[in-house]
Symmetry: C2
Subunit: 220 residues, 2 copies
């Protein structure tokens, strides 16, 4: 598992742009980031453009589809997410590594309403996305293996359960105000207890979900 090479060059597609265009591109990205975080993934494109102080056309020229915008916006965050999981892996205590990995990711989803949606949504053409997600998935699988080997994580835990947790957490995180934070933390606390090996009682089978296989209805 390498350090954090993840994102090679910042934005390879912003290279040949004229100076003013590149500037606008950045403003759009900032505006989109903020809009997605507070209002979710389906804010009107026009709202993003207005917030960025550009015309709609500029937005569309730079990012022909909403997905391409989402992809670019969340590349960083996805990267940070992977980094968080890798960082958690450094913890010598396998259970604590597992726990903090989950808690960090959930904290991120709490801070940014669009994040999990983006994370969980399959963007067929977003190659980079896939790669980053695959990396996060690999790291997480490693954390899981260690926690299981140490006898602290129940043996019947499956990666799909993480997706379950993320999707559930996302729903709670979408709640207004206070509820989101308190609810998310509490849900995670409950589930972490349920994941502990000591308490393991038989479970129904896991759904056919993988971080990689996830298909969530793509943000229209």
């Amino acid at each position: 598992m390498p350090g954090h090479p993840s994102r090679i060059a910042p934005p390879p597609e912003a290279a040949g742009l004229r100076a003013d265009a590149r500037h606008n591109r950045d403003r759009i990205l900032d505006a989109a980031r903020e809009a997605f975080a507070t209002r979710g993934l389906d804010v009107p494109m026009a709202a993003i453009a207005r917030r960025a102080g550009v015309g709609v056309a500029t937005l569309y020229r730079r990012f022909p589809s909403r997905e391409s915008l989402v992809t670019e916006v969340f590349a960083d965050q996805l990267d940070a997410c992977g980094a968080a999981v890798e960082e958690a892996m450094a913890d010598p205590d396998p259970w604590r590594a597992f726990r903090t990995a989950i808690e960090k990711v959930c904290a991120m989803q709490l801070a940014d309403r669009g994040f999990t949606a983006a994370f969980l949504t399959a963007f067929p053409e977003a190659v980079d996305f896939e790669r980053l997600r695959a990396r996060a998935e690999l790291c997480f699988a490693e954390v899981v293996r260690r926690a299981k080997d140490a006898g602290q994580l129940r043996a019947d835990f499956e990666p799909a359960d993480l997706v379950l947790l993320l999707k559930a957490g996302n729903a709670i995180a979408a709640e207004p105000g206070e509820v989101a934070a308190a609810g998310s933390r509490r849900l995670v606390a409950y589930l972490l207890q349920a994941f502990r090996a000591e308490h393991a009682e038989p479970l129904p089978p896991a759904p056919p979900l993988g971080l990689g296989h996830v298909y969530a209805p793509a943000a229209r």
Copy 2:
């Protein structure tokens, strides 16, 4: 706790209608029920009308607002939900009563995509709704009390946790196909284990949510 008096007369507002009008009203209700179940609470009104084989105007005349339609459609289901909880209460084993109450409600939400949304959404003017929900809430509180007294449900369980579970479960139930069923069951199984008294480790505080206080952004 009374038997099941709940809904007194079937539809008091369908009384003075002409025969054909009443017939159409029923068709609308059927169509809406099916539409809400499969496509969620925000299907176009026109789709419901078409499915019912009536014009939009008829739909709007009978149910001036979307909410009034939702209210009428889910009154039965909400009633069935209350009945399920009451039935679960009859179980002499407090924990099994608690467990089956939750499982039944979750099964209902799995079967009908609009159900939980309706259940969790505050319809300010839907008095009857409130009354039914209050009844369910009372029964559930009783089940919780018994399970806690028996030392099987953790003492720090709060009613808000049920809402949490419902909202989380709802998100999973909205998944396409196979995932919904398997995921919902598994999530519920995990949470039920976390709710058991034996495993209780400290929890973060519960969010300010009550079945009664719930405010979910009303179906626009």
